[in-house]
Symmetry: C2
């Protein structure tokens, strides 16, 4: 068996494994674990189903490999936040949210996975919490608490606020199929993304701040 969770593909096998993993990430995040079929991933990656079992023992391992890859992608992006440590708490929150939005557009699997497994509970959620979502959630809560303590943010329960902001942020990204169905439009155009960022960061976050900016 080849290396499974590596991020940088090497050699023929590595490239194949990476392709499988990418297809799996897309499918798992859109559909959830059980409605994805190994045959579908194999077809999407252009290999036989047995090849999936060659590179990854079973479906659960493949799922974890895909999630670890996603985690690595996200972590790489979040390095940028280290530069914001000396800003005010509310500015840190704003930058963290801005980055979260950009990551979510770039890697829509993130928000979908959070929604899918965050609702269902169970062992996959526990795994995700320790590897992907828990640390960020708790970091954001700490920032929110500091912002509230500094009188910059209205004193809502920090956990609620963090989850709500994230849910609001990924709403139109996750629900693109529903938006297509209900309204016949695609919410991913550049203008729509810009309006979205403004809406979340200025309007919604503004509404949470103690001294909201006027229009």
């Amino acid at each position: 068996m080849a290396e499974a969770a590596t991020t940088v593909p090497v050699g023929k096998g590595g490239r194949t494994a990476a392709r499988i993993r990418d297809v799996a990430l897309e499918m798992f995040s859109r559909l959830g674990f059980e409605r994805v079929m190994m045959a579908g991933i194999a077809a999407g990656a252009g290999v036989s189903q047995a090849t999936l079992h060659y590179h990854f023992q079973d479906k659960a391992q493949l799922w974890r490999a895909a999630m670890l890859h996603l985690s690595a992608l996200i972590s790489a992006e979040e390095r940028r936040l280290e530069a914001t440590a000396d800003l005010s708490s509310v500015a840190q929150l704003r930058e963290a949210m801005r980055l979260f939005l950009r990551i979510s557009w770039k890697h829509p699997a993130l928000g979908r996975i959070i929604a899918l497994e965050g609702m269902a509970g169970g062992e996959r959620l526990a795994w995700l919490d320790s590897h992907l979502t828990g640390p960020r959630n708790r970091r954001l809560v700490a920032i929110v608490r500091a912002a509230i303590a500094a009188g910059e943010l209205k004193p809502f329960p920090a956990e609620q606020l963090v989850i709500t902001l994230q849910a609001a942020g990924v709403g139109v990204i996750n629900l693109a199929p529903m938006i297509q169905q209900s309204f016949g439009i695609d919410p991913a155009s550049p203008e729509a993304r810009q309006a979205h960022e403004t809406m979340i960061l200025d309007a919604l976050l503004g509404g949470l701040m103690i001294q909201p900016e006027q229009t």
Copy 2:
């Protein structure tokens, strides 16, 4: 076979069918269609698996019956909105959102179903759009457009705004398992619900309004 989609159970069979349907709604909405097993619903309802097939032909029919029941529950609640027709657009939006939040706490299946099927697309989403979510989405968009035209709301894309508000509203409800996992708290206490309503209706919606209320 007994009547399947009736809301008011009648007779022994009707009660059993209603129990099955309620268990199915809870499970389907939390886990999605395919991770729910007929055996699990049967166990939850305290009947044999064959009884499910007696009252509902197959799994897809049971799913639709559960969703129709949910739809009836929601429709009954939304009757209350008829009284708000003479308010300003933004006040109508606020009342609609307040009701949406109350319904979502009372029937958490609604938001979960929207999230699950709204991400996945496919025929179940099409079915839901015509029976459950589409009309409300389009009604809300019309209200938002009117509010923007009246200069009461900031001019964000109406569809985006509606979806985002709903996503923000149900975030902490849907993601209760993740909140439990990440923070060890339950977001459904009465105080938490009150704070939640205030956060959504005053802070977030306030941030979207042209003349936000000050704290």
